[in-house]
Amino acid sequence: MTDLATLFPAGSGLDPRRSEALMAAQALGLPSAQDEAWRWSGLAGRLAVLVSSESSSVAKGQGEVLAGRQEDAGIVLHGRNIEKHSLVEGLKLNQQEVCAPFMQLVAQARHGEKNPFPLVAAGLAENSFLLEVASGQKIRQPQKITLTNASTPTHAACLVRLDEGAELDLIWRIAPAQTPTAQAALINYGLAIEAGAGSRLRLLLAEEEVPDGFVSGGLALSLGEAAQIEILRCGNGQRFSRLELDANLCGQDSYLRFRGAESLSDAKDSQQSGRHSETVLRVLHKAVRSRSSLLCKTAVGSHGDHIFQGRAEIAEGAKEVEAAMTSKALLLSDTAKSRNKPELEICHDDVACSHGVAVSDLQPDMLFYLRSRGLDEVSARRAVVSGFLREAVQDDAVLDEDLFVQQAQAALEASLLQFVSSGELT
């Protein structure tokens, strides 16, 4: 078993705070299939991608910060560099004071769950940064942050802080580099979000396919009183992708909504075909009247491996809590798999919780109905699968003028188009 320290050595010359993050990661060690949260995503055999990508050298140089053009607004992280950087007014970017509060948030959210990757990101990212929205500030222009693959791993650690009443729309995008690299890519990010009282964050996780991508995302959320976080995730999966989210609903009336729409098609560019996508969502309800609603929809194509692990935990004293969690998957190929573990952990009686799982192929009745209206078989299959995935975003589609919603729909349609053209539905 490869040691984490050999993959990501805590090199000398690092800022001491970052070195601390790396040490903390190394103390956790690499998770294995023995760790419950990794039981279906053992890293053994997958580590080659990490080793092969020159991860042992730690960059000394400061990333280049470029002012982006208007139409390319946002931040682009490529390997160790911030390639572009432009932000709208009202948003503060700070690259200095990130590591310690980031680690603190991650530690609070995680309760010792074994995932060293966000800490590795904090330790190795040259381009950690803090996005801060001041009290009462409402930012209407969605902010885009793009992570691309490079010959060196891309590590990103980002802390988003919304002060009281602040609002932000954030687009967190995984995308292939403009100039393709032949190498397997590790994109590892940690995103810690502190949502103050009455604040609202909408987050679009748009994951485009990265050639031979190994993507690890760690989200740590803390929600204050009446804070709202709405997350939409869509994409076609990666050769290996794992999203792990920990949310602490600390404030009364806080609300977390997660919607996932993923379509896993055969990774044709890879010798080890098939996508592996694991989504781990853990929600801790600590406050009265806090609510969470999680829905993941996944269409699984050839050699696709879908994993959903959810856990809603209702602490003692958190009365009038509502928590709902659903994972639905379509198995569209004989080689598709879906594994689900939706957990509830409840410590008193004043709650309304539910969870559900449904996994099957497309329903023959539905296809027959559509075909009897003249849709050919392929069109009928597409219509049902598209509808299945669109359901995840549909109730967002209220405001057509809303830039964020437009972006979300565009991202979903793009991934649908890719899935349809992958031939999984023919």
């Binding site: 075909r371 849709l375 509808g387 549909q394």
Partner: protein, 258 residues
């Protein structure tokens, strides 16, 4: 209607099995253009099997006989090819499809038909105009087209949505399976008059039902009524047969026929 014309639907000596069991045991039925026929039968008589065999559902195997729509053999066609040939099946329990907007679905259905007819597809706005016209004719509540296909529809709304599809597809033959099931009196009247408005001199109807009440709700009496039992038609007559059935019940009429 002249009897010398080719009938719209011609079913001859039809036998069919489901999971190896013979359900249809020699169905003969002929429907001329513009006619409305009603097929009545008790539960388990094989009515639903007949509709599924007509529409080409998987798992239903024709072992003998033939089905001709305008002289074309339906048995060799896929469900969508039968729709293209002019057959429409109104479902007893239409599927609900999450995430598929009713308008999106209907437009795909209509544009598919237009393409086959060599016409330009309609853009969303043009289609909306067409759709609004048809909705007004049926009539049905307009908000239903903004919902997902049959998701959260009441029984009556589902049936109206089926008739909207019928109107848009303009079939030669509409087979409506238990269209009256699960409807209250008001909904039944609405559906019956919506069906009536779809009648044309070229279009034929086959209504399949358990009860006489749908016939009672129709504005014009059907041309023929057939009693279906043990996988075949055991008696045929005009609308009076339905009344007789109402008074005497299935058992009496079927044993009389046997």
């Amino acid at each position: 209607m002249s009897k010398s014309k080719t009938p719209v639907l011609e079913v001859r000596g039809l036998h069919a099995t489901v999971e190896g069991e013979e359900i249809l045991q020699g169905v003969d039925l002929s429907i001329q253009a513009g006619e409305m026929h009603v097929l009545m039968g008790p539960n388990g008589s094989g009515k639903s099997t007949l509709t599924n065999v007509l529409a080409g559902r998987e798992g239903y195997e024709i072992t003998a006989g033939e089905i001709l729509l305008d002289g074309q053999n339906l048995a060799v066609l896929s469900p969508e090819e039968r729709a293209w040939a002019g057959l429409f099946l109104g479902f007893q329990y239409p599927s609900a499809v999450e995430g598929l907007a009713n308008t999106t679905f209907l437009r795909e259905v209509v544009n598919g038909k237009r393409k086959r007819e060599g016409k330009e597809p309609l853009d969303p706005l043009a289609f909306l105009r067409v759709l609004r016209e048809e909705i007004a004719k049926i009539p049905m509540p307009e908000h239903l087209i903004r919902r997902n296909l049959n998701v959260g529809f009441s029984g009556g709304e589902k049936k109206l949505n089926e008739i909207l599809q019928l109107a848009l597809l303009e079939p030669r033959l509409a087979v409506l399976d238990e269209t009256d099931s699960g409807l209250d009196l008001d909904a039944l009247r609405n559906v019956a008059s919506a069906i009536h408005r779809q009648r044309t001199p070229e279009r034929s109807f086959l209504l399949i039902t358990h009860y006489q009440r749908l016939i009672g709700a129709l504005e014009v009496a059907p041309d023929r009524v057939h009693i279906f039992a043990r996988g075949k038609i055991v008696r045929s007559g005009d609308a009076k047969l339905a009344e007789q059935l109402e008074q005497q019940g299935y058992d009496a009429l079927i044993s009389e026929a046997a």
